[in-house]
Symmetry: C2
Subunit: 99 residues, 2 copies
């Protein structure tokens, strides 16, 4: 198949993504989020990551600011979704910048 062209990200976002990925907790969160193929509330993430709710909230905001996840309120819960397009755009950028 022909690979779909990703839309380019602004430099600022590239930096945000790089920093978001640089923390092991956030990497782990993204991994879980990608592995599970359904809307995932904070509570579910909390169970596998050993931090407080406050810390998790902080990390989720970082990931969201970077564009790597999107969230949607659903009653009491906040569901998170990974954004694979953004990740793909980031990988494409790294590839073209650094090789």
């Amino acid at each position: 198949m022909a690979a779909k062209r990703t839309q380019p990200l602004p430099d600022g976002q590239i930096q945000l993504i790089a920093r978001a990925l640089a923390d092991p907790r956030r990497y782990e969160i993204l991994q879980k989020l990608s592995a599970r193929n359904r809307p995932t509330p904070c509570t579910d993430i909390l169970e596998c990551i050993g931090v407080t709710a406050a810390t998790l909230s902080h990390h989720m905001k970082e990931l969201e600011t970077a564009g790597l996840v999107r969230c949607e309120k659903k009653g009491k819960f906040v569901n998170y979704f990974p954004q694979p397009r953004i990740l793909r755009a980031y990988l494409d950028r790294l590839k073209s910048d650094l090789s």
Copy 2:
């Protein structure tokens, strides 16, 4: 063509690479190093990056520890080379972990 399989990196190195890429100066250095297709001494890098020699030395060590560059002494000079294989392995890992 069939893409060559990259050899997998240990988790520790993945984190080192992520952190190395998260700093804008280091990203810039890697970019220059990849763009120039020849051995590049510190002095050449210093010219385009606005930091002192001490700071540059610190950044180069981070990049080296991460495995993203290799260096070779040549008399007074230290020449740096990018390590595109490591970068490719990192990209492959991100792709498989996060999508």
